[in-house]
Each structure stands twice: as C-alpha cells, then as structure tokens.
C-alpha cells in the first residue's frame, strides 16, 4: 500500500509539474519558477534596510535596457532583476491573461502606447505610481506622454515613459531632384508646409518620374489623425467622428491622394522590396524606424534626408513601465523603474540603441542634438527629432480608439482595392463602428 501511495504521490507530482510548465509558458521564455517565487521572497517592507528583493520584469524586444539593468543590480546588490522577454503581441497577451487570471503577473511590465488606454481604464490592476513618488518626477518627461500615462485628472499614474516616437518625414533626395522638387530639408519643409502642398508635390513627382509619393492610403490617414488635438472621441468618450475636423481632413487627404500612393502596407512582405526599389519617395517615421529603412534598403544609403512633416508632428510608439498590483514590492519596483528611466539612463540607452528619450531635458543635450547618421545625410538629425517631439500635442484617446482605427484603415483600403467607393467606405466604416461600440 505504501508503494501505491508513493506512486500516486509521484504521479501527482508529475501532473503538478506539467501544469506548472503549462502556466510558465504563458510567461514567455525565462527560468522556471521565477515569476512564482518573486512574491514570496522577503516580506514587504523596505529596500533601504538591505533586505534582498527579487523583481521580475516582462519586456518585448528592442527596449535596449540590458546594460542599465546590470548596472542597477551592481549598484544595488540587494535587488535581483529577472527579465523575461517575449514577442510584442505575445507579451501583451501574456500580461493581459496574467492580470485577468489574478496571478502570475510580474513586478514590472512594459505596456506599449497602443495598449495604454485599455489598461488605464482598469486602474485596480496596477499600482498607482503616485503613491510611490511619481509626482516628484513628473517634470522630467514630455508633458503629452505623461498625460497619456495618467488619468484625466492626473491622480492616477499608470507608468513611467520609456522612449517616444516623434514623427518626421524621410524623403529620397534623388527622386525629389528628378522631379524638380527641393532637396534641402528646410526648403522641403517650407514648400511642403501643408497637406495640399504635399499632394501637389506628390503629383509633380508622379508625373515627372512615375514614382509614388507614399506607400499606402491607410498610413497617411493615421499620420494626419495623430496630428490632431482631437480624434474620434471627446473626453467624455462620446463618438465625435462626424464632427471632428481633423478626422475629416485626414479622410479627405487620404482619399484625394490615392493616385499618388503605391498601395503597399507597411506590414506586408512587399514593403521592403518596394522601399529598396524606390517605388515611393517619402516615409513618415519616428526615430526608431530609421533602422528599418537601413535594414530594408541598404543600397539607398546617402539618398535620403529627413524633414519635418507638413503641418505638425505626431507620435508613433514608445512604452510605459508599469507595476501590476499583483506585485508585492511596488516601492522597490518603482525605485528601479524611476532610476531606469531617469534622464541619465535614457541618455545611455539612446547612445547605445537610439531609442529616442522621453526625458525632455535631453532635448538640449549635446549627445542628442548632434546625433546623426550618414545614411540619412542630415547633420542635425537628433535636433530635428527633438524639435518634432516638442511639436507633438496631447490627444485624448479612448479604449475603443484602436478598434475604430482598424475599421477606418480597413475602409480606406477597400477604396483602393476597388471594393467600395469613398462614400460607401465612409458609410460602411460608420455603420461598423456604431455596431461594434454599441455591443
């Protein structure tokens, strides 16, 4: 009987181990047991009294923080930080399910800007960083990103900003020259100061060279939408899409310029080939996307320059570092992330990886201002993006904003696919938005 009982226990152990493996998978890669143990090690209390603390951190690739984390651990021997990395979409799905399940979430989690609103409407899932000293560092970061990270009244702060993605316009100087357009960035900004100018230049380019002005109708819509101070919703979450002037303008420019777009989406496998061949002459991009051009079209080195976009800038990407409320060490976690995203560390990350800082004092820093890249021909690339970052305006977004974005992008795409007229596409979009929001 003893033997039987033993074998049963063994079996049970096996099952438990299997189940544990199963749940570990949801945490992405990483050493087994870390996420479970972190809560148990050490009673809550203080980091200052030298008690050792283990913090888990979930990130997606491209954060560029490995060296800084090592440095923090060297300076704070009582803190051990375990980083677990998963792909962008997996990372957010994992975080979502860990929060929903009520266990398994890390002490520090990265939340990309596209997910901020969805997490912000559930503040009970996260520690309010204002309780741990976030108020003291408010002034360090660009205001628009801080407001995105906070509740409308500013009482609740979801996370500390990492990098930001202020938008500018890269353009092919050789193609602009062939078309008789200016090539100097200041002249380009002056001549292409409005979207009407941009379309006019695009037609000139297309007529002279047969090259399109930009890649895809849905992309320019997003770019112009992000320039506004108001999008689909007012601050009470009422849908104002039919009244919003910025949305109307974005839609009209997109529809009216569809003869000068190549019909190639940025996510498609053809994008790189089109870029390398020079099928379109301008790319709207945040600094982190410069590297994509270098990867996709290495032979175009020296043919690019970067100028400010028509009318205004905008933001694409960037993240927050949050502390889920499941964490037992919120103070230690906050101490860590506030150090990690302090201006000095952001500067190091920028120097090593090019992630554009959200700490505004760095916009005057020599290292940032003098940042440049021979691939893009511009000596003051850093200063130009710093200026773009300061041109970004805060926009209110609702948790439904990304749903509406998808519907608008799809509707515009049906126009160039020949599946709908612009009027039909607009009506279809409104009907679908109405249906999805009313559920």
């Amino acid at each position: 009987m003893v033997k039987k009982a033993l074998s049963f226990l063994l079996l049970l152990g096996l099952v438990v181990a299997l189940v544990a493996c199963g749940s570990e998978d949801s945490g992405g890669s990483g050493d087994s047991g870390d996420s479970g143990d972190s809560g148990g090690s050490g009673d809550s209390g203080g980091s200052s009294d030298g008690e050792s603390v283990e913090l888990t951190m979930w990130v997606f690739p491209g954060m560029g923080i490995d060296e800084q984390i090592q440095k923090y651990q060297d300076e704070n021997p009582n803190v051990k930080i375990t980083v677990q990395e998963a792909e962008y979409a997996d990372h957010h799905t994992n975080l979502l399910t860990a929060l929903g399940a009520g266990s398994g979430a890390p002490d520090v989690a990265v939340v990309e800007s596209g997910y901020i609103e969805q997490f912000k409407v559930n503040p009970n899932q996260f520690h309010n960083l204002n309780d741990y000293g976030a108020e003291d560092v408010t002034g360090d970061y660009v205001e628009w990103r801080w407001r995105e990270a906070s509740s409308p009244d500013g009482d609740f702060v979801l996370g500390l900003p990492t990098d930001v993605g202020p938008m500018a316009m890269a353009y092919r100087t050789d193609l602009f020259e062939d078309a008789g357009l200016p090539t100097d960035p200041d002249e380009v900004s002056a001549q292409l100061s409005t979207w009407d100018d941009y379309m006019e230049a695009g037609r000139q380019l297309y007529d002279e060279t047969g090259v399109y002005m930009y890649n895809h109708i849905a992309e320019i819509f997003g770019v112009i939408r992000e320039q506004g101070e108001e999008q689909y919703f007012d601050t009470d979450n009422n849908l104002i899409i039919e009244e919003s002037e910025q949305i109307k303008k974005a839609w009209d420019v997109s529809v009216n310029s569809r003869d000068i777009q190549a019909g190639i989406e940025r996510e498609s496998t053809e994008y790189g080939a089109a870029l390398a061949r020079g099928d379109f002459a301008t790319v709207f991009l945040p600094p982190w996307m410069l590297q994509n051009i270098k990867d996709d079209a290495p032979d175009t080195e020296g043919l690019w320059n970067v100028a400010q976009m028509p009318e205004a800038s905008g933001n694409w990407g960037g993240s927050l570092l949050t502390v889920p409320s499941q964490s037992d060490h919120p103070q230690e976690a906050f101490d860590f992330i506030s150090w990690l995203m302090a201006p000095e560390q952001q500067l190091e990350i920028f120097k090593q990886y090019g992630n554009f800082p959200s700490a505004q004092e760095l916009y005057d820093n020599e290292e940032v201002i003098n940042y440049n890249d021979p691939f893009f021909n511009r000596e003051d690339l850093g200063a130009m993006f710093a200026e773009a970052a300061q041109r970004v305006e805060y926009v209110y977004r609702s948790p439904d904003t990304s749903t509406v974005n998808t519907i608008m992008g799809d509707s515009l795409t049906t126009i160039i696919d020949g599946q709908a007229t612009p009027e039909e596409a607009w009506d279809n979009a409104l009907a679908e938005i109405d249906r999805q929001l009313s559920r």
Partner: protein
C-alpha cells in the same frame, strides 16, 4: 455453526472479492488518471468556463457583467461579420479540401506503383510540408502571393495575365489561404491513403491486368471503391481542421473587406484585439456546435455507406 461458516465464507469471499479489486482498480485508475486530470484541467474546465463567460460582458481586466443570452442574440441578428466569417470558412474549406483530397489520392496511387524507385525519399518529401512551421509557410506564401513582387504574379505575367491583387480581392485572398492549407495537408492525406492502398491485395490488380484493364480503370474500379472508408476518414478530419483554419489568415492578412476572416480568427480578434471575451466565448460555443453538427452529419453519411 453453519451460520458462522457462512459468515466466515462470506467474509473470505468479501475479502477475496473486495480487496484485490480495490488493488487492481486503483492501479488501473492511476494509470489512466493523467489523461483525466489533464483533460479536466485543460479540456472540461475551459469548456464550462467558456459557457459561463459567454453569458457575460467581460474585458478580462474588469468585472464580469451578466448579460444573459444577448451575446448569442446579437451574434445571429446583428453581426454581419460573424455570418461572413462562417461563409468564408466554408468557402475556404471547400476550396482547399476537395482539390487536396483528389491530389492526395492520385499522389498516393503513384507512390504505390511498383516501378517507382526510391519510394522512401518521395514519401518523406511529400510529408515535409506538414511538419513545417505554419508561420514559416505563411510568410513564404505571403511573399509568393505578393501583388507587386510576388513570384506567382510574375509567372502569370509571362502568360500575359494581369497581376492579381491577392490581398485585396475576395477570391484572391481565399485562394491564397486555401493554397497554404492545401500545401500543408496534401502530404498528410497522401500518407494515410498510401497506408490504405497497401492494404489492398495485389491479386486484384494482377487479375485486372490479366483481364486487360488499364491503369485508369484499375484506379477507378478497384482503388477508389476499396478506399472508401479511408476517404471518409480523411474527409472528417479535414472538416474538423477546415472549421478551425486560423494561422494562415492571421499571418497572410484577412483583407480589408474581411474576405479572409475565418470563424476562429474572428474569435481571436474579438478576444485579444477588442477585449470582448464574453462575445468571443459565445463565438467559441457556436463554433463548437457547428463542428458537432458536422461530425454528426459525417457519421450519418458514414453509417449509410457502411450499410450499403
């Protein structure tokens, strides 16, 4: 005395009957328990929890709000996208399964021929797509089905056919997704058919050859009738698989007009991009019922054919 004996005998009987049985059955239950424990955790519990969720409105992070059957009601009365996804799924299923099974049968027949050398290599080669990562398949096919730089449009251009907008037209997207499904599963079905073919006695073919039947006649009048049960088996499997096509449209793109939106992809988007977990659960249950319906239909047909 007699009573005592009887009691004793009974006791012994009980002992004999009862104790060894506990022993035996306990060991037996222990041996099968891993399946049942895992199945209850990963099979039954999610099934029941999904049913429970489908009666709620839930964004996974907040509180669940009970809404009764309204998710199901709006699924059938006010959701053109869901109906479209059902239609797409069936169309893609037909477009991929029928040519796939015909091709697999022909390939299996060829692989089974006596004159063919190096059979092992061919069999391995034909099975390779099935063990290739679906993500890799989808990325390669997306490149091949590119509108501007895709190799398929290039080949078509050699025959002076205008480039097809694969991602932007209804038929184009569905053909591309079906092609991926087909490419992955032809080999799998070929191997199953090959196993079936090898179960058919050679005598039948020899007799037919002596009687002057050619290869085509042998295929139509010997192979196909004897393969019927195996063909049915593959049809059932591809039905269940076809209802759940997911990774291909996710990676290829469902298209702006949702022409590649399948039922499982719609479920995924509701849950993980629109955070409507209650609604997604309702879709999951409807999908479950549709698959059960189809399995019953398949069983009915199988029974009829067996009865003949």
């Amino acid at each position: 005395m007699a009573e005592q004996d009887v009691a004793k005998i009974n006791h012994v009987k009980e002992k004999r009957k009862y104790r060894p049985k506990l022993h035996d059955s306990l060991t037996g239950y222990l041996f099968i328990s891993p399946f049942f424990i895992l199945f209850s955790i990963f099979g039954i519990y999610p099934l029941i929890f999904t049913a429970y969720l489908s009666l709620h409105k839930w964004n996974i992070l907040g509180d669940k709000e009970f809404v009764g059957l309204s998710n199901y009601v709006s699924l059938f009365t006010n959701d053109p996208l869901f109906l479209k996804s059902v239609g797409n799924t069936f169309f893609i299923w037909v477009l991929s399964t029928i040519p796939q099974l015909i091709l697999a049968l022909i390939l299996a027949f060829l692989l089974n021929q006596a004159f063919l050398k190096a059979k092992g290599i061919f069999r391995l080669a034909i099975f390779m797509p099935n063990i290739t990562s679906v993500v890799a398949v989808a990325i390669i096919f997306s490149a091949m089905f590119g509108t501007n730089y895709g190799v398929i449009n290039y080949v078509l251009s050699l025959f002076s056919i205008d480039p097809i907008n694969w991602t932007g037209s209804t038929l184009g997207t569905q053909v591309a997704i079906s092609a991926m499904v087909m490419w992955r599963w032809v080999g799998y079905n070929t191997i199953i058919y090959l196993a079936g073919l090898q179960g058919i006695s050679k005598d039948l073919y020899e007799a037919a050859t002596i009687d002057g039947a050619n290869k085509r006649q042998q295929f139509l009048y010997i192979t196909i009738p004897l393969m019927r049960p195996i063909i049915l088996f593959t049809v059932i499997l591809s039905t269940i698989g076809g209802m759940q096509v997911f990774a291909e449209p996710l990676l290829f793109g469902r298209g702006a007009n949702n022409q590649g939106l399948t039922m499982t992809l719609y479920l995924y988007e509701e849950a993980f991009t629109r955070f409507a977990f209650g609604y997604a659960s309702a879709i999951a249950w409807v999908l479950f019922l549709i698959i059960i319906l189809f399995s019953l239909f398949n069983m009915f047909i199988t029974g009829r054919i067996k009865g003949q």
